[in-house]
């Protein structure tokens, strides 16, 4: 037999390039797991960038009358810190988790629209890079106007061309429009996946709570992010074409911008926080060895939060001077949202009650969230009281409140989720020893940084001001707050080192290291490209319990 050598045929060995081939694979991938990892790595990179920005802010505020940063640089840093953490860390890391976990949890082989998924990630990536490219236009580098310095909320008329010349604000506007398009694409995709691709037997009432919450969150993204996109388009028309939407000198309204921004901005808080609740609802039952307490109530509470959250936005605007009727409405609705969140908190406690609690790293983070979210919730209800809000609006009390939500609750929940699902993604367990160092350092650092800010705020320290005067009783709170950052940085370093080290040297995890119950633990770690060789069929909310205990399946009790 003669062998004919085709001119194009190259052997696999010749073709494989150690860098370019994997790079090409990652660039053109449409696999939901790879895109999920890309989202998460992208977000972690920006977490480091946003963290550096926060560190610089705290160095500047460590002592009174400091001149480490100029006032303008300080404005740039708090603008970019806020924008980065919300749009380039929070949104993409949660999109990454949703991408990775949802198809596995519902027993699907991929998302509904894999190419749209890839589009969503790369658009988000481009928007983030564009926004941060504004740093390169700094006067010292390219003689432009540098990075945006209008605050992450971009209040009019400060953003109007008359007040911010140069292109800094345009980078912010266009960057966020593009990131928003990515978010919408991702949300359409994930929600469609959950609605149309659940495996046989997975009724809505049997979906894992994380998937349920993710479905609600995607609908909230669709309803909340596009108003921001719309408002940004109007602002862009003002800046680029001379329209007058927020131009007060031509009859435009600056308050209208605030309404538009917070119509996005407040649901956004829940868009970020609800997936954190989803992580807790997966971690706490597994590490308490009990089924989640009150599953239907948890679902109902999630949907209630989704609806109420779109009617609370103007509690950010009590100091603007709205009518008493509007103030009353938004105070009541804001108080009301505490009810379903409180229900959730009690359901997690009910899950832990009488359970065999395993205090491994994911559970440690989850327990810390319960305590810190309680503080965040209580200060939130305090701020919903209009006269209290008038007193403390735009002070460090508000800063402390929302950092207890976004760091003390959300970031802690994300850390827990990383420790929980890392073995599924990589096939290796993260180090428990480093994990405990990470947990305790971050717990101490976080509370040292943000508890004192409540007191600084009550003493009258305003936000967004680059320094403060001595002898007003503010020094000690600010110094302690800045010292806390050192602990957080040390904890963050332990986390990053753990991520990198465990990838090669972590203990081999196996398919189901936590003895968990949802479908992602039914496949290998890491899962194959097709997720499941044979699509599973489920009969209850805990299919792997049924698999491990066929004599006592869950559907008898649901």
């Amino acid at each position: 037999m003669t062998t004919t050598q085709l001119p194009f045929a190259v052997s696999a060995k010749e073709r494989a390039h150690p860098i370019f081939d994997p790079l090409q694979e990652w660039l053109e991938t449409v696999d939901h797991k790879r895109l999920g990892i890309l989202y998460i790595v992208f977000a972690l990179v920006f977490l480091v960038i946003g963290g550096i920005e926060a560190t610089l802010i705290r160095i500047q505020l460590a002592v009174a009358d400091n001149h480490f940063l100029s006032a303008h640089t300080f404005n740039v840093l708090f603008t970019m810190h806020g924008t980065t953490m919300v749009f380039l860390v929070g949104m993409p890391i949660l999109a990454g988790f949703a991408n990775y976990l949802v198809p596995l949890q519902i027993g699907a082989r991929d998302v509904a629209f894999p190419r749209l998924n890839s589009f969503g990630f790369w658009v988000t990536c481009f928007g983030g890079l564009l926004l941060n490219a504004s740093f390169l236009t700094a006067p010292a580098l390219l003689g432009g106007s540098g990075a945006p310095d209008v605050g992450w909320f971009g209040y009019a008329p400060l953003t109007e061309p008359a007040y911010t010349r140069g292109n800094a604000t345009d980078y912010w506007v266009i960057g966020l429009i593009i990131v928003g398009i990515g978010s919408i694409a991702g949300a359409v995709n994930i929600a469609t996946t959950i609605v149309t691709m659940r495996t046989k037997g997975m009724t809505l009432g049997r979906m894992p709570l994380y998937t349920w919450i993710t479905l609600v969150v995607q609908c909230m993204i669709l309803a909340a992010v596009s108003p921001l996109t719309a408002a940004l388009i109007l602002l862009l028309l003002d800046r680029g074409l001379g329209a007058h939407f927020f131009d007060t000198q031509a009859g435009g309204s600056a308050v209208l911008w605030q309404h538009f921004f917070w119509v996005f901005g407040h649901p956004e808080v829940y868009v970020l926080m609800l997936p954190g609740f989803g992580f807790l609802s997966e971690i706490i039952p597994v590490f308490s060895r009990k089924v989640i307490f009150g599953y239907p109530v948890m679902v109902a509470a999630t949907i209630a939060i989704g609806f109420i959250s779109v009617s609370v936005w103007a509690h950010h605007m009590f100091a603007v001077g709205m009518s008493p009727a509007a103030n009353t409405f938004f105070a009541v609705s804001t108080g009301l949202v505490a009810v379903p969140t409180g229900i959730k908190l009690f359901n997690w406690l009910g899950t832990m009650w009488g359970g065999q609690i395993r205090l491994q790293t994911p559970m440690l983070f989850a327990i810390a969230v319960l305590l810190q979210f309680l503080v965040a919730g209580i200060t939130g209800v305090m701020l919903a009281v209009v006269p209290f809000n008038w007193q403390l609006t735009d002070t460090y009390f508000v800063v402390a409140h929302f950092h207890f939500v976004l760091v003390g609750s959300l970031l802690f929940a994300i850390f827990g989720a990383v420790y929980y699902w890392y073995p599924k993604v990589t096939g290796r367990l993260m180090s428990e020893r480093l994990g405990k160092w990470h947990f305790w350092l971050f717990l101490i650092g976080f509370n040292l940084t943000f508890i004192p800010q409540h007191f600084a705020g009550m003493l009258g320290m305003p936000r967004r001001v680059y320094t403060f005067l001595p002898e007003r009783g503010l020094e000690i709170w600010n110094l302690v707050s800045s010292i806390g950052v050192a602990f957080q940085l040390a904890g963050g370093a332990c986390f990053l080192w753990n991520l990198i080290r465990s990838y090669r040297r972590g203990a081999v995890a196996g398919n189901d290291p936590w003895d968990a119950w949802t479908l992602e633990w039914a496949t290998s770690s890491p899962p194959p490209v097709y997720n499941f060789a044979e699509l599973p069929v489920v009969g209850s909310r805990r299919p792997l319990w049924d698999l491990k205990h066929p004599e006592d399946p869950d559907w008898h009790y649901e």
Binding site: F113, T196, P227, A231, G251, F532, L547, P550
Partner: protein, 196 residues
């Protein structure tokens, strides 16, 4: 993996099709987008500091409205024809939709030309100009996006490549086109009836 035990008998398992679900979710996002433009329009009615005012320059666009609304009917009939396997009838209804959409856009172009050249109303003139061009322009850009999709399918149709099983995909475009028409009813009400 051994099979997970399930209660028997297992009920039949059907889920919605992904195309319609996806486009409906996208329409949810689009509705929120339009809501902000409409809210801005309503808020600024009568607040312009200078002229021209809507009453001076706007005329109710009867012909444009008739064209766009009837195009919803033709696109629906096209889909039904395709589902029944009548590809020739599908193509003629589809092309009628394209023509009606084009007529609508021509109407918009004429109106804008008159406003800009005769009445000197631009986006920069006053709040009416800003809100009018933003809202009507946002809608028109959605019509253009719809036209691109309609024309793509029309090209495949003329090449004889559209088969009855493609109705899943033409349905998605059809739903989007109905949404664009629905938004036009809101725009007409706000701009040409309430706003005048």
């Amino acid at each position: 993996m051994t099979a997970i035990p399930v209660p028997s008998p297992t009920p039949p398992w059907t889920l919605p099709r992904r195309g319609p679900v996806g486009i409906l979710l996208f329409i949810l996002a689009e509705s929120a987008l339009f809501s902000v433009f409409v809210a801005a329009y309503c808020y600024y009615i009568g607040r312009s500091l200078t002229g021209p005012t809507p009453r001076e320059v706007l005329h109710f666009p009867v012909l444009m409205t008739v064209c766009l609304l009837s195009s919803s009917l033709t696109v629906h009939l096209a889909g039904r024809a395709l589902a029944n396997g009548a590809t020739a009838r599908f193509l003629s209804y589809w092309l009628a939709t394209v023509l009606l959409g084009a007529a609508f856009l021509a109407g918009t172009a004429r109106e804008w030309r008159e406003l800009i050249v005769v009445h000197h109303l631009t986006i920069h003139s006053n709040l009416f100009g800003s809100t009018y061009y933003a809202l009507v322009g946002l809608h028109a850009s959605h019509v253009i996006a719809g036209m691109v999709m309609l024309l793509t399918v029309a090209a495949f149709g003329l090449a004889g490549r559209v088969r009855p099983h493609h109705v899943d995909r033409t349905d998605v475009i059809s739903i989007y086109w109905h949404f664009v028409d629905l938004v036009w009813i809101v725009v007409v009400t706000v701009v040409y009836i309430i706003g005048r």
